[in-house]
């Protein structure tokens, strides 16, 4: 099974930045109603609009969890305007494996939550945009 590459299983079993943050600037959560994957994401965004810390909680399949874990590594220390450019193609690149059609929603769940969190942040602090 090519989809279950070593790096994916590693992120699944020992996810990075997992457990949530007590003092998040903004949080978002989302589930995939079809398969029951469910994650929450906490972001700390500093006054310069840089994601200084991020963490996630929740449970789901190997693909979805690895994708969120990799996304955490990717966004920490980056400014929002850069993070906002992350596309679904970037997620596939991070995963580095062929994601079958039935698993696309799993792979992209983390990105969906990230985008929802950033949207919430802009609604909260509109003048930062």
């Amino acid at each position: 099974m090519d989809m279950y590459a070593e790096n994916i299983l590693h992120h699944f079993k020992e996810p990075h930045h997992f457990g949530g943050l007590a003092k998040a600037t903004v949080s978002a959560k989302e589930s995939n109603p079809l398969c029951g994957d469910k994650y929450g994401m906490d972001l700390v965004i500093d006054k310069d609009g840089v994601i200084s810390d991020a963490s996630f909680t929740g449970e789901g399949c190997a693909i979805s969890k690895a994708a969120v874990s990799m996304l955490m590594d990717e966004i920490i220390g980056k400014p929002l305007n850069e993070v906002e450019k992350i596309s679904k193609e970037n997620i596939y690149e991070l995963l580095g494996v062929e994601v079958s059609a039935g698993r696309v929603k799993c792979a992209l769940l983390g990105l969906k939550i990230l985008q929802a969190a950033i949207k919430k942040y802009h609604e909260k602090i509109p003048d930062q945009r």
């Binding site: 099974m1 989809m3 279950y4 299983l9 079993k13 079809l34 398969c35 029951g36 994957d37 469910k38 449970e59 789901g60 399949c61 190997a62 693909i63 969890k65 079958s100 039935g102 698993r103 799993c106």
Partner: protein
């Protein structure tokens, strides 16, 4: 009994391969595959029999109407909605009154929840379902309760995934207006004591609906014996076409009900400002129905009746028991309803440390089709503390060899995820 190897030959899709691997189809609780006779009947209908029903006087229209109405008789006989003379109950217009064609089980249940429910349930009333329900037999009642200010109650289940009827006398009260339960759990496969529940519901004058989506394809059902007011099921889970469901309803209750959808074919007289309704079943079949599906449903029913529903049940149950005996040997596996006494051809399981979706993906690589998810039974999954399970569900064309192939694929899950 029958030979599943012979049956396989009647299903063209079972001859298909992916990456050279033959299809092992174990998602029958979601939908069944179709035998050649059903596929041919669909083709024959569109090639030589197609016309709208209940209207034209030309030959084709009579053929189409004849096919449509004769399937109604097949259905009535299949579910035992007939009297001692093997005849169903007819309406004043001479049609089989108790069999209504819908789009599927979901629409059948919605029909009852809206047409019967809106007219008969009021504030303070109670509706009883169970913890095992598929969303299609939960959400319509939940929303009816919200519309009316009624209370929804639940029959609990025990650790084997079987309904616990100990508290049933307290759950069914004078306030209970509707008792709606499924006959087989789609998530766990447990067979529920519907007859006993219907009996108790009758005592307080409650109306009863049985969700037969999993039961009609897998066990013998008889409406006169069950004595429920409504019974809902779908053609596609029992070798028939998709987009076709059945609502059985007792004639006297259907006659009193308002229509669900309104428009063509369900009227008697239409004035500019008022209309009167046709008699059942047509009162509940607005618009042009799925005639091709209805025409192809009779061969599906005949196929099952030729095998015998007792045999159909025993075959799938035997495969379930065999699968459980094989899976039980694997480490860190949890099999739901493993020790249930009354159970059908479904086995639901999880492996600690692996999400059900990943199990299904690994099996898919070997062209073994199983379902992973909450099986449209989220409250049940929450109760079990799971977000998802992997489910194998068996049918007439499955063999022990299919189970062996599936179990070999499950063993690969352990290798890939390095679990022992």
């Amino acid at each position: 009994m029958f030979n599943a190897e012979d049956i396989k030959k009647d299903f063209p899709i079972l001859r298909t391969k992916v990456n050279g691997k033959p299809l092992v189809y174990l998602d029958n609780a979601a939908t069944s595959q179709k035998p050649e006779c059903v596929i041919k009947a669909t083709e024959r209908y569109y090639s030589t029999e197609n016309a709208n029903v209940h209207r034209g006087v030309y030959t084709l229209a009579e053929i189409a109407t004849g096919l449509y109405e004769s399937t109604r008789l097949s259905v009535a006989r299949f579910i035992g909605a007939v009297n001692g003379d093997d005849q169903p109950l007819y309406s004043e217009d001479g049609d089989i009154a108790e069999i209504i064609f819908t789009r599927g089980t979901t629409e059948s249940i919605n029909l009852v929840a809206y047409s019967w429910g809106d007219a008969n349930v009021k504030e303070g009333d109670e509706i009883l379902v169970s913890m095992l329900e598929h969303h299609s037999n939960l959400v319509p009642w939940q929303q009816l309760c919200k519309r009316k200010g009624a209370t929804l109650k639940f029959i609990p289940i025990d650790e084997n995934g079987e309904m616990d009827l100990d508290g049933l006398d307290d759950l069914i009260t004078d306030k209970t207006k509707m008792v709606a339960v499924s006959m087989i759990s789609n998530a766990l496969g447990t067979i529920t004591p519907v007859k006993e529940i219907v009996k108790k519901a009758k005592k307080v004058g409650a109306v009863t609906l049985v969700d037969g989506a999993q039961a009609a394809p897998h066990i013998p059902v008889n409406m006169r014996d069950l004595d429920c007011d409504f019974f809902a099921f779908s053609a596609h889970k029992m070798l028939g076409p998709t987009g076709l469901g059945v609502l059985y309803g007792k004639k006297e209750i259907l006659e009193k009900m308002n229509p669900f959808l309104i428009g063509g074919d369900m009227i008697r007289e239409v004035d500019l400002y008022d209309s009167t309704w046709n008699s059942p079943p047509h009162k509940f079949e607005a618009g042009t129905p799925n005639i091709a599906a209805v025409a192809a449903f009779t061969p599906a029913i005949e196929y099952l009746m030729d095998l015998g529903m007792e045999n159909v049940f025993n075959h799938s149950k035997d495969l379930r028991d065999y699968a459980v005996s094989r899976l039980r040997e694997l480490p860190k596996i949890h099999i739901y309803a493993e020790h249930a006494k009354n159970v059908s051809g479904i086995v639901s399981f999880t492996i600690k440390g692996v999400h059900a979706h990943d199990i299904a993906s690994v099996l898919a690589a070997d062209n073994v089709a199983i379902r992973a998810g909450h099986h449209c039974a989220q409250p049940l999954m929450n109760l079990m503390g799971e977000s998802a399970t992997a489910r194998m569900s068996f049918y007439i064309y499955n063999t022990r060899e299919d189970v062996d192939t599936a179990v070999r694929a499950v063993q690969k899950v352990y290798e890939i995820f390095k679990i022992s």
